[in-house]
Amino acid sequence: MKDRKIFLYIPLVIVLFIIPFGGEYVTYLTGLALVFGIAALSLNVLLGYTGLLSFGHALFFGCGAYSAGLLIKHFNITSLEILLPVSIAASVGLAVLVGLICVRHTRIYFTMLTIAISQLFYALTHKLRPITGGDDGIRIYSVHIFGHEVASITEFYYYILATFFVSLFCLRIILRSPFGLTLQAIRDSELRARFAGVSIMTYRLAAFTTSGLFAGIAGAMYALFLGQISPDDVLSVMRSGEFVAMTLLGGYTSFIGPIVGSFLFTYLKAIISSAALYWYLVFGILIVSIVIFVPTGLMGEIEKRWRIG
């Protein structure tokens, strides 16, 4: 059963590799979906595995994006091999600080705090124009990797694909480890976990930091892929909400649910927006229907059927 599942994924992986043959636009969309996939996966470390809903996850996505952007803008460092580690370090640092405040709370209180803190940074980025470029944001003209300039969207797509697989692999290992299992235990019964000798706050903080780390990776790759970032694009509560929506769409109870969600979201948005239809209306109705009819999302539902069938 388990082995057969792996075979199901092989064609998908092959498709991801040959995507650039479909043209620039498809490559661009798929690149976005992959980046958002990493971000949504990272959100689900908190939502699905720890039971905490972050509505300010764009903070870490934006932190990754702006770390890269600011290094380029102020220090003219354009090497991916420097930008990515710095972005990761910044996101981890920020996640620890913010986490120390947030993980003392659960449920709606946690959600509200994540909104507040992300909005604080959003407002600061907006207003500190000399440093951040304000609402114009930062433009990124070129990216290098080990001295070689990235020449095309297709080339960068493959770096994203590689980052995606590495992130997926790492998160899979982390979430299946004793640590991941303990997180799920805390989610289901904080009381029992506490009386099983687990120090709840430490675990929540570790989950928060892990989540921030991968969101930071996604943010950095997004900035370099798009070549343009602004606070509204990468730090806003709307962006945070989109990560939640993707996770919900694909299914927060499933490991790969958020990725399925990010692909659905990205393609659907592109198709509907280009048809000049009311994207937000469709998006809103989609969320409302999912919440009412399939709360465990697409993958949650499929996995449930598989288990029964």
Partner: protein, 243 residues
């Protein structure tokens, strides 16, 4: 040897003197039951010993050490475990994973990000063995009937290898037929492992059958202490039946 001792423990909730100067002691491997009407302070006492609540005054000693200010976490590490009246279990995990969480915590490896094969397999075997002894099937926790949920709650404590286990109403909500089976399974295991137990229980038959010693509480105080015969005591009967 004396394992647990409480010294003049007090816990007031406003006007209510939930626990009012309780001194009890538990020997190694001993099973004692605490009985008393609702609101007599039994569960509060369990909370004071397990660390769920801090006493207003008084002390708790474990193996001769003052643990009054220990956190729950530290108390678990030195060997105090507890079960809950309403089972505190992991609804979305399997029974096997539930027990594994405790084993990982006990071995201090639940913070490990990578599942090392040998450690994991060892823990898994241990968990399966415990589940077999306690007659709990390996399946999703949400699919367990009530009796087995109570047992699983206890199993998660036992896998922490405690020296003392506090059982808060282990048979509450379990049918009369199942009651004996559940108690026999638990008591059989803890006797074999020489674990001491403090049982808070309503069912007098269970109390009489399985305890070495009985403590009767009333209005936050210890009223009487002794063997099964004190259940026949006039005053004790009056209080318990008045329940």
């Amino acid at each position: 040897m004396e394992l647990l001792k409480t010294e003049n423990l007090k816990k007031y909730f406003g006007e209510v003197h939930a626990v009012d100067g309780v001194s009890i002691s538990v020997e190694n491997g001993e099973i004692i039951s605490i009985v008393g009407p609702n609101g007599s302070g039994k569960t509060t006492l369990v909370n004071l010993v397990s660390g769920g609540l801090k006493p207003d005054s008084g002390k708790v000693f474990f193996e001769g050490k003052d643990i009054t200010n220990f956190t729950v976490h530290k108390r678990v590490k030195i060997g105090i475990g507890r079960s809950f009246q309403i089972p505190a279990i992991y609804e979305n995990l399997t029974t096997l994973d539930s027990v594994l969480v405790s084993i990982f915590s006990h071995e201090g490896i639940s913070n490990i990000f990578y599942r090392t094969k040998d450690k994991f397999d060892g823990a898994r075997e241990e968990a399966i063995k415990l589940l077999e002894i306690l007659n709990i099937p390996v399946k999703l926790v949400s699919e367990l009937p009530h009796g087995q949920r109570k047992l699983l709650d206890v199993a998660m404590v036992l896998s922490l290898k405690p020296k003392l286990i506090l059982l808060d109403e282990p048979t509450a909500g379990i049918s009369l037929e199942e009651r004996d089976e559940v108690m026999q399974t638990i008591v059989g295991f803890i006797e074999e492992q020489n674990i001491a137990a403090v049982i808070v229980e309503h069912d007098m038959e269970v109390v009489g059958e399985y305890s070495d010693r009985i403590v009767v509480m009333h209005e936050g105080k210890v009223l009487k202490e002794g063997g099964k015969e004190i259940l026949e005591d006039e005053e004790v009967r009056r209080i318990l039946i008045g329940d």
